[in-house]
């Protein structure tokens, strides 16, 4: 490709002053143009100065940012464990089924808790042998007060 002053300027403005960043297919022609052309050399020097100044601009420092971002990440990951548990409990994919299944599951929780608590605590109900005698008395239509004595 033939190099022109306009194309050379465009290359430098677009890719910078370093030949290594110029497109490979035009690099050879552009380097030859630069070698033979004082105006091209001057243009490259100007852009090289600009790049050196850009390099010299201070790098931002953001103290504690990484810790704060990681702290938030940890809380997000915590939420995800709950989500994973829910995903395990709920059927995947079918949103409609999930919408029915989730309230049903929540509604069943008090029932399960009630069964467990009733099984664990007697709440003053006597043993089965006494209950059996009481039941026989009722069936025989006996005076319940006599048995109780």
């Amino acid at each position: 490709m033939n190099m022109t002053p306009e194309r050379f300027a465009q290359l430098v403005e677009t890719h910078g002053s370093q030949p290594a960043r110029w497109p490979e297919q035009e690099r050879h022609a552009a380097e030859a143009w630069q070698r033979d052309n004082p105006a091209a050399q001057a243009l490259c020097r100007e852009y090289a100065q600009l790049e050196a100044l850009l390099d010299a601009l201070p790098t931002p420092v953001l103290p504690g940012l990484e810790q704060r971002v990681l702290r938030r990440a940890a809380s997000l990951a915590g939420d995800n464990l709950l989500d994973q548990a829910m995903d395990w409990l709920l059927p995947h994919g079918d949103r409609l089924l999930a919408w029915i299944w989730r309230p049903a599951l929540v509604a069943c929780l008090p029932l399960v808790c009630g069964i467990y608590m009733a099984n664990f605590f007697s709440f003053g109900i006597s043993g089965p042998e006494v209950a059996w005698e009481e039941e026989l008395a009722l069936l025989a239509l006996n005076d319940y007060a006599e048995i109780a004595e």
Binding site: L50, L54, P60, L65, A73, L76, A77
Partner: protein, 175 residues
């Protein structure tokens, strides 16, 4: 499978360690980009937090054939910065003078200091997309194709933006 693919698959699967590794790997670049776009640490932190929140919530939308994870994250940050700048430009304040590394280094010569201040001001005065293109090209070393992907424009359009930005910076420094 590439490193990027393995990382993103792990994040999609809910692996918090992979997520933390991604943050450690990309946070510096993302936060420096946001700082150079916005010029203050508070907004930079908001952008960084939001970018990595989206990494966690939108990891499944990443497509390896379209962009590397770094390019994808910079695209998110770029879009957030542009939204931020357009939403409330008036509230932005520049802390660039205060927030930089190497404050204990020997002072630059006065002329050099003036040049740097002029360049900083020229950068801040560039239109958003020109500033983004220069920052991504010069400081982050992305290729023009990658920057075009980040900015969601064609390579030709990007090259036109870059040329205008560099010409403008050079002209400002001459004054």
């Amino acid at each position: 499978m590439t490193d990027d693919e393995a990382l993103m698959q792990a994040i999609v699967a809910g692996d918090s360690r992979a997520y933390e590794a991604a943050i450690r790997q990309h946070l510096k670049s993302i936060s420096h980009f946001a700082f150079r776009m916005l010029g203050n640490s508070k907004d930079t932190e908001d952008i960084a937090q939001e970018t990595f929140l989206r990494l966690w919530t939108h990891a499944s939308t990443w497509q390896r054939e379209k962009a590397s994870v770094s390019t994808w994250l910079h695209r998110i940050a770029h879009n957030l910065c542009i939204d931020y700048l357009r939403k409330d430009k008036s509230s932005l304040s520049s802390e660039y003078e205060d927030e930089h590394e190497g404050s204990d280094r020997p002072a630059d010569a006065p002329e050099r200091t003036q040049q740097l201040a002029a360049l900083q001001q020229a950068l801040e005065c560039l239109p958003e997309r020109q500033r983004s293109a220069v920052v991504l090209s010069h400081y982050h070393g992305f290729s023009n194709k990658e920057i075009a992907t980040i900015m969601d424009i064609s390579v030709d359009a990007l090259e036109s933006i870059l040329a205008r930005a560099r010409r403008s910076l050079k002209a400002q420094l001459k004054h």
